[in-house]
Amino acid sequence: MKKILLSMVLASAVIATPAMSETVRIGTEGAYAPYNYVDDNGKLAGYEIDLGNALCAEAGLTCEFVANEWDSIIPNLVAGNYDAIMAGMSITDERKQTINFSEEYYPSEPSKYAAAAGMSFDMMSLSGKKIGVQGATIQAAYAEEHFGANNTIMSFKTFDDSVADLAAGNLDLLLADGDPLNPVIEASAGALAFVGEGVRIGGGVGIGMRKDDTDLAVKMNAAIAALKANGTVDKLIKEYFDNGPFYAQ
């Protein structure tokens, strides 16, 4: 038995040798257009993939994107499955307790409410409503805190799932980032609409990294500053988000 265990451990030691090469693995969701998505060729694409590659070129790193489901994206970073997260993740104090963030690479944007067209809600005194959010997001935490007592908060695995349930009429309200919601409202041809005022919940979007990975943080922050200064970040924002918000005045 000892022998079996030993050989098992040895075999896994060979597999488990930590990546000593310079390749930085970046985890992303691949289901959050236009930040990150899987394109028609089955490859990861989007604002963060283009920006991540530009940042790595600037910092002299070899990078590789890997897809990981949203709800396990932080645990798997901490576990070392990849070295950084670029997945439309807002910088928040709660997340900072577990991981480290770079400077933001996309400005803070208000989250928005979507509902079936023609509905109106009093956001101050919502009660008995079904409110959809994507699980483990800043919107999920916000909805739970502000509406959790008198409403049902329905948490979905992906953004797409939450939209599907709103479109199917299973939700009264959907609270989500404005950027992925915009094309949804446009494509719904009047069936869905934004309601109420947007709420500013989290900070800007930044790269998540392990707390002890300070080298990478220094390199990434320098690269972000450089690409903001030379206009690459704004150019990519223009390409994927049309009208901003931009970093240049």
């Binding site: 901490v78 576990a79 797409d160």
Partner: protein, 281 residues
């Protein structure tokens, strides 16, 4: 994909057909079709492990040595009762942590080990599971769960081998081991195959759980492709089409079932050659 067709052939299709063809043969869809390999590997690998566990389990169950018999009975009773979903979630995780535990003992510095607050205690004891690792784990998990069913089937089939055959073999001077392998195991297949084909069907269906292990299998791709898309940059803009994709999976599994039935019928015919079975003589 479509561009590779000669002009005279693609010219035969109308514009609508051509765009649909282009859609279902784009890279995303090809990746979906290619992901069938995970399902097939898990099914065949799982079945192989299941038959091995089944043989061992059945041998243990009819052992005359008490502890062996207890192990065999324990295995078939307990494992058959655990839902496969639970086992697929439990086994890879438990195995990974066990390996990391022993790895940590040998590679982490003792003071780091003592002060560790997180898992694993040190970076070097980290075992990162790749898709291949997960696939192997899935095969083993499925093999253990369905091996318990297979053990019962094989055990029953061994009992069904006519006693006279075995007694005759013993009378001819074969040793007990030879009697077991050359007569009992050799003849039990014909009784075991109908039951094993059922176990195979269950196992095949259980491969739809692969996505639980972060394997991008046919089920996960179907959900991804079917999700509504509102952003033309991502690809074709369409509403929630998941039901269509799931329907394709229904058909896939039904076709697999039909093929399996034929395969087992052929196998049964082959295994029954020269045997006189009750009711057939």
């Amino acid at each position: 994909m479509l561009e590779t067709l000669p002009d005279w052939l693609s010219g035969l299709f109308s514009e609508d057909v051509r765009s649909s063809l282009a859609y279902i043969t784009n890279g995303k869809h090809l990746a979906w079709y290619a992901s069938i390999r995970f399902t097939l590997i898990a099914a065949i690998g799982g079945a192989t492990v299941a038959v091995l566990f089944g043989l061992v389990g059945a041998a243990l169950k009819q052992s005359r040595i008490m502890p062996f018999k207890l192990i065999g009975d324990f295995y078939t009773t307990i494992v058959r009762g655990v839902p496969d979903v639970l086992f697929i979630l439990f086994f890879p995780l438990a195995f990974e942590q066990a390996v990391e535990y022993f790895l940590a003992r040998s590679v982490c510095e003792p003071e780091v080990l003592a002060a560790a607050t997180q898992w694993p205690p040190c970076e070097a004891a980290q075992w990162f599971l790749t898709t291949t690792d997960y696939l192997i784990m899935a095969c083993v998990s499925l093999g253990i769960v369905y091996g318990a069913f297979a053990a019962n089937v094989i055990h029953g089939a061994m009992q069904a081998v006519p006693k006279g055959q075995l007694e005759a073999a013993a009378a001819y001077g074969f040793t007990p081991r030879q009697v077991f392998w050359r007569f009992k195991v050799r003849q039990m297949w014909v009784y075991a195959l109908p039951g094993l084909s059922n176990v195979w069907m269950l196992l095949l269906k259980a491969t739809s759980l692969l996505s639980l292990l972060q394997i991008a299998d046919i089920v996960q791709w179907a959900a991804r492709l079917g999700s509504a898309n509102y952003y033309s940059r991502v690809g074709l803009v369409h509403p929630d089409w998941r039901w269509k994709y799931y329907l394709v999976l229904f058909v896939f599994f039904i076709v697999m079932t039909m093929l399996s039935e034929r395969f087992f019928a052929a196998l049964q015919a082959r295994a029954s050659r020269g045997m006189s079975l009750a009711g057939s003589d």
